[in-house]
């Protein structure tokens, strides 16, 4: 079967991807998504946006993977590819060992209920013309997830689970605050009884005071329903709290994946270091650390014309001559700790 054979087209995971077949819920291999740029009358393709360019990772059942990176690095694109909202240009997505990246829409339906998504903007993710009852309950009725006639009771249950009142059912989305709306979005995903929820920047549109509530809600639902999460965020502080493992992404590629604590205490990739330095330090004693901050300069390079070699070399504080030429693969440097950087031996062997 596909996932058992290392694919030579994607050199990164011959060394990097965790051993396959040992009960991963979701496994992504060499995922690529290139958006064509069309110009002119005839819609000639003049180039591509290399949004996701060869990404491999895997998630166990019950695990939470944080996917972190600056805006425009392709993390949302990965999320949408997983749900097949976008068609991947290349690569495979294995869900419980089955490649779902090439399934037809009809065959996909059974998996659609298994993977759900929570969206970034709670003001745009709920249909303004439907009552909450309909927003949450529509999938129950369409896919016959509960016996007919019971769907309203199920909606009440779901509302209670996400911390809303049952009588909120009859209201429209615009009557709710951002945090409440995001809870409705969570309930809508839960209605499908998913195994995996892709949360695309679930709190970045919310007030800071509300963010923790929603994060805690996600955390509490995880054990109760045996969920796995992919939490996409641009802010390390957000994923820190709920992730088991974190994958750091830069310009369409993973640069480092590690267990939560390893990443925070022992970041290897200069980009991860820089991201961690950028996390605000609230304690007064953090002044010393503040001085030693290593902040990167400039903007993310263009994904239309990515830099040669290591994509981060244009902004890296430790850039070397070889970085311009060699694109380092993701290699394992410790238990579940992978880095794509020449400093750690990648690509030299």
């Amino acid at each position: 079967m596909g996932p058992l054979i290392p694919d030579s087209r994607f050199p990164s995971h011959s060394t990097s991807a965790p051993a396959v077949g040992d009960g991963y819920l979701l496994e992504v291999q060499g995922l690529k998504k290139h958006f064509p740029i069309r110009k002119g009358l005839l819609g000639r393709t003049v180039g591509y946006v290399y949004a996701v360019d060869g990404v491999s990772f895997a998630i166990r059942r019950g695990e939470t993977l944080g996917l972190v990176g600056e805006s425009g690095c392709g993390k949302s694109t990965i999320g949408r590819c997983l749900l097949r909202l976008y068609e991947a240009t290349d690569g495979q997505i294995f869900f419980q060992g089955m490649d779902i990246s090439k399934l037809s829409p009809g065959e996909m339906i059974q998996f659609r209920t298994r993977i759900q998504m929570i969206f970034q903007d709670p003001y745009s993710s709920l249909n303004p013309r439907l009552r909450v009852r309909e927003i949450i309950g529509e999938s129950l009725r369409v896919h016959n997830l509960v016996p007919q006639g019971d769907w309203q009771d199920r909606v009440r249950e779901l509302l209670a689970e996400v911390g809303l009142q049952p009588d909120h059912m009859a209201r429209y989305p615009h009557e709710f605050s951002g945090g409440q709306r995001q809870r409705i979005g969570v309930a809508r995903s839960l209605a499908m009884n998913p195994d995996l929820i892709v949360a695309d920047e679930p709190v970045s549109a919310l007030d800071v005071s509300i963010q923790a509530q929603v994060i805690n809600l996600l955390d509490s639902l995880k054990d109760k329903h045996g969920l796995s999460y992919i939490v996409i965020a641009h802010d390390l502080a957000v994923v820190e709290h709920i992730s088991d493992r974190i994958a750091v992404m830069y310009l369409g590629k993973l640069v480092e994946t590690a267990r939560d604590r390893d990443l925070y205490l022992n970041p290897k990739h200069p980009y991860t270091e820089a991201l961690l330095s950028a996390v605000p330090i609230p304690a007064p004693g953090g002044r010393e650390r503040r001085k030693s901050r290593k902040l990167i300069q400039g903007d993310v390079a263009s994904p239309i014309n990515p830099p040669s070699g290591c994509r981060f070399h244009t902004r890296c504080l430790k850039t070397m001559e070889e970085c311009r030429r060699i694109d380092p693969p993701l290699i394992e440097i410790g238990p579940e700790h992978h880095v794509a950087c020449l400093l750690w031996g990648g690509g030299r062997s």
Binding site: L85, Q116, Q120, S125, L126, N127, P128, R188
Partner: protein, 301 residues
């Protein structure tokens, strides 16, 4: 000694009566209420014109031709708006004309909606080749002079009420396609549509349940404007002799007949013209108010 208040004024204020709420709402939408009243009158007249009109719209009497309206010197109270060149009562004919206008306006717009919105949804949602073909068609239709198209259609099909409706419907749909297409494109990439996709809903369901209701305000406003426009266009076609044929009392036919007497018997053209104006105005006012009502953002609980 100060009297102890028996009731809390704040609580009294917090519970206004239903009547006052309704009145406040009506004041808020006063133009819409005016429009609704006008439309109500139109529908009432259309339904009951045999009972409310004083005379027979077809009965000619040469001895009574070109009588002045009642309010002018020499006018007769019996013929409130005077008589036309064949001695028929003008008021009666205007009242009967509402039937034609309403039927043509509504039926033509329903036809436009069916064709236009369907094509607009397809073009906007699927994009690509479907969009290219439909957009090209729309641009062709928009560039083609309405009168020429309607004339050729009527010439081919023959002038009858049914064919007028078909001609108006087949020439009017592109506006709906344009609006629907643009709005659909905007909605297509909204997260709630992505959410509906990830909930594995069929494309049909996404279009009908998730996109179409969000288009309603825009379409509704356009539809009311188009009803008014269809009424005016029917008058125009009838005026040119391509529409409703005399002696059927259509406002356009009456305008055309009145044209010959414009200098001295101005009322023959003026009153049918007023009727066209009032109905178009009423429909437009109502459409505006309806848009405010159906928009959940504006709807306060």
């Amino acid at each position: 000694m100060a009297e102890i208040p028996t009731s809390n004024p704040e609580i009294d204020e917090a519970a206004p009566s239903v009547l006052s709420l309704v009145l406040r709402k009506m004041w808020h939408l006063r133009m819409g209420v005016l429009g609704a009243l006008l439309i109500f009158c139109l529908i009432f007249i259309a339904l009951f014109c045999p009972y409310v009109s004083p005379h027979d719209p077809f009965k000619q009497d040469i001895t009574k031709r070109l009588w002045k309206p009642a309010f002018m010197e020499g006018g007769k109270a019996e013929y409130l708006l005077g008589t036309d060149h064949l001695g028929r009562d003008l008021l009666t004919r205007i009242l009967y004309g509402t039937r034609i206008s309403l039927v043509v306006g509504l039926a033509a717009v329903i036809l436009m909606l069916t064709v236009g919105v369907t094509l607009g949804l397809v073009a906007g949602y699927f994009g690509g080749r479907a969009d290219a073909v439909i957009s090209f068609l729309v641009n062709c239709m928009m560039g083609f002079p309405f009168i020429l198209l309607a004339m050729s259609l009527v010439a081919v099909l023959g002038a009858s009420l049914q064919n007028i409706i078909i001609a108006l419907g087949l020439t009017g749909w592109p506006v709906f396609t344009r609006v629907t297409r643009i709005e659909t494109m905007k909605l297509r990439d909204r997260e709630f549509v992505l959410a509906a996709k990830s909930l594995a809903f069929s494309t049909r369901r996404i279009l009908v349940r998730h996109i179409l209701p969000n288009l309603l305000p825009a379409i509704l406003v356009l539809a009311t404007v188009e009803v008014a426009r269809a009424i005016i266009r029917e008058s125009l076609l009838s005026f040119l002799g391509l529409g409703i044929q005399p002696p059927t009392p259509s406002w356009g036919v009456m305008l055309a007949e009145g044209r010959d007497y414009m200098l001295l018997q101005w009322w023959l053209a003026a009153f049918p013209g007023m009727a066209i104006f009032m109905s178009a105005l009423g429909i437009n006012l109502l459409g505006d108010a309806l848009r405010d009502l159906v928009d959940p953002y504006l709807r306060k609980t």
